[in-house]
Every structure is written in structure tokens, then in C-alpha cells.
Symmetry: C2
Subunit: 195 residues, 2 copies
């Protein structure tokens, strides 16, 4: 935790999705995401056909978890749907007080945020727009376009990630396509909040 951190140059290529150097890379396939989906039966069907598509991946540079530092990187969410629900990240809350910012570089997406009381807010992101997630708000990103949705993210290095609360309770809203229209509706599988 107390490694000496030297000034560093990091190369970012959002066309080829390169972050160099990176300290963490993660690829999330459908099999890992299925418990977060609003339509798990649709996920099971795809998996039962022997397919396990990559939903999203990210490259992150995190110098340390020491307070005062910032982690950052690139996320790409591929285009597609699981049932009616657009491809999305799992989403998470931060364990400590820590905001996050998302700078859209390519494609179209939605940043879905929810506070501890269950209040949900969405922001649509297109290239050049930034979604600011204040301290205390859980957040998920969703690809609502036909191509890759690519964004730059940054958050305090010591924020920590709580995915379990999302896995257990879900977000109160989901983003779906119905009758060729985008809809943001109540999540039928939302398991409520507890304070």
C-alpha cells in the first residue's frame, strides 16, 4: 500500500482499446454477468446454445490504493441485448466515499445511478459528455447504440468496489428495447433497499 509511485506516462488509444501500461484488465462474459440480468432466462438460453459472448472489458491503471491517488482506464461495452435488456456492466457501489467520472469517447450509452434510498437517475452519454457520479451513488453503464460504447473512467484509488449489493438487490431501473424503442422502466426483479 505504501509503494513509491513515480510519475508515469500512460498511453490511451480508444480506437484500439489500449491502456499501456495497465495494472488490471478484465473481460466479463455473459456467464459472469447472468445473475445481474433482468432476464436471466434469456441469458440461460444463450449459454445453453454453447455461446458465452463478451459483454464488456476494461483496462485500468491504478498506481496504488493509497488515499489521494486516482485510478483510471478505458471500458468498452459491446453492442447487444440479453432478452430485452441492453448489454451493460454489473455496476457497483464504492465501499468508501468516492465519486467517479465517465468521459464518453465513442458510441452511445446510459449512465444509471442510484443512491442508497433507491432513487435512480440516468444520464445519456455521447462522445464528449461526462457523467459525474457523486459520492454514495451506485452506478452502471449501458450500451444503447449499435457500435461499441467506449469511455474513460477515473475514481479515487481507495474507493473500493461493492458488486455484491448489486448482485443481491439489483438496480431499481433497467434499460431495455421494446418495440424498437428505448425504455427505462422499473426493474421487475429489484429486491429493494435497506438502510
Amino acid at each position: 500500500m505504501s509503494a513509491i509511485i513515480e510519475p508515469t506516462k500512460v498511453i490511451l488509444d480508444f480506437k484500439k482499446i489500449i491502456v499501456k501500461p495497465y495494472t488490471r484488465k478484465k473481460q466479463v462474459k455473459l456467464s459472469e454477468l447472468k445473475d445481474y440480468c433482468a432476464y436471466p432466462e434469456a441469458a440461460e438460453k444463450i449459454l445453453s446454445e454453447g455461446r458465452d459472448p463478451i459483454i464488456y472489458e476494461y483496462y485500468e491503471y491504478g498506481p496504488t490504493e493509497t488515499s489521494g491517488n486516482i485510478n483510471f482506464g478505458l471500458t468498452v461495452i459491446y453492442p447487444g441485448k440479453i432478452g430485452k435488456e441492453y448489454y451493460m456492466t454489473k455496476g457497483h457501489f464504492h465501499e468508501k466515499d468516492g465519486a467517479e467520472l465517465y468521459l464518453c469517447l465513442k458510441g452511445r450509452g446510459i449512465l444509471l445511478m442510484q443512491n442508497k434510498e433507491g432513487k435512480a437517475v440516468t444520464i445519456e452519454l455521447e462522445p464528449g459528455s461526462i457523467g459525474y457520479v457523486p459520492v454514495g451513488w451506485g452506478h452502471r453503464t449501458i450500451n444503447i447504440g449499435r457500435g461499441k460504447f467506449v469511455f474513460f473512467f477515473a475514481y479515487p484509488s481507495d474507493a473500493g468496489h461493492d458488486y455484491m449489493i448489486v448482485k443481491e438487490k439489483g438496480f431499481s431501473k433497467i434499460v431495455i428495447e421494446e418495440g424498437k424503442s428505448l425504455k427505462i422502466i422499473d426493474n421487475p426483479r429489484y429486491r429493494g433497499t435497506s438502510d
Copy 2:
């Protein structure tokens, strides 16, 4: 300090230099920068001719100074020199432990960093490269290109800025053009460090 912060969408246009909404805008002209210059007599000469060019400006979105939040924005440094020295920012140290990242969007620049012991490190920035300033390192950005040098920055909202230490002591290195070449040399006006 304890304002309720709502999720926010911020538009960033690095061609037109727009950050909307922003909470802070600053334009630094030569008259304000002259005490930071390695060749103050060159600055005085320009000012004595009745000119006071804009050296750089920035737009910042800072939701609050509460710990865990992140300030961010755009800086543009115009091209030019004061004597041999390229146009640059004043530079600062953070008052508290706080890193900073600079993502170059346009042009060419140098990120000059210096730790409390006076050790200097430079990173060259071109579009898509990020300079990471670790906790404890002072930093200044310099436009070494022929066009605008534009970058996105982000840092912890509670970091604070100490410009005075730079005004009083300077950085140990300066970036100049000599014989049509870029040189990074010892600052002849550096007033040392004290621990």
C-alpha cells in the same frame, strides 16, 4: 462544504474549449505569469509594448471540496514563448495528498514534475497520452507545439493548490527553445528547496 451533490452531466468540447456547466473559469495573461518566468525581462519588454497576451485558460467543474470527489476540466495553453521559454502554466503543488492526471487531447506539451527534494521528471504529451502526477509532486504543463496544447485534467476535489511555493522558488528545470531545438535545462533562477 457539505452541499448535496446530484449526478451531473457535463459537456466537454475540446475543439471549441467548452466545459458546460463549469464552476470555475480562469484566464492567465502574461502580466499575471511574469513572476513565474525564467526570463522576466522578456516578459517586461512585451508588457512595455502595451501587449498582455493570454498564455493559458481553463474551465473546471468542481462539485464540492468534500473528500472523495473529483474536480476536472479542460486547459488550453496557447503557443508562444517568453524569451526562450515556451508558454506554460504557473504550476503548483497540492496542499494535501492528491494526485492529478492530464490527458492530452490536442497539440504537444510537456508535463514537468518535481518532488519536494527538487528531483525533476518530464513526460512528453501528445493526443491520447496521460501524464500521471503522483501525490507530493509539483507540476507544470508547457506547450512545445505550434498550435494550442489542450488537455483534460482530474484531481481530488480537496487537494488544494499551493502556487506560492512555485512563485517563490520556481521549478528546478525550464523548457526552452534554443537554436530551433527544444532543451530542458537547469533553471538559472531556481531558488532551491528547503525541507
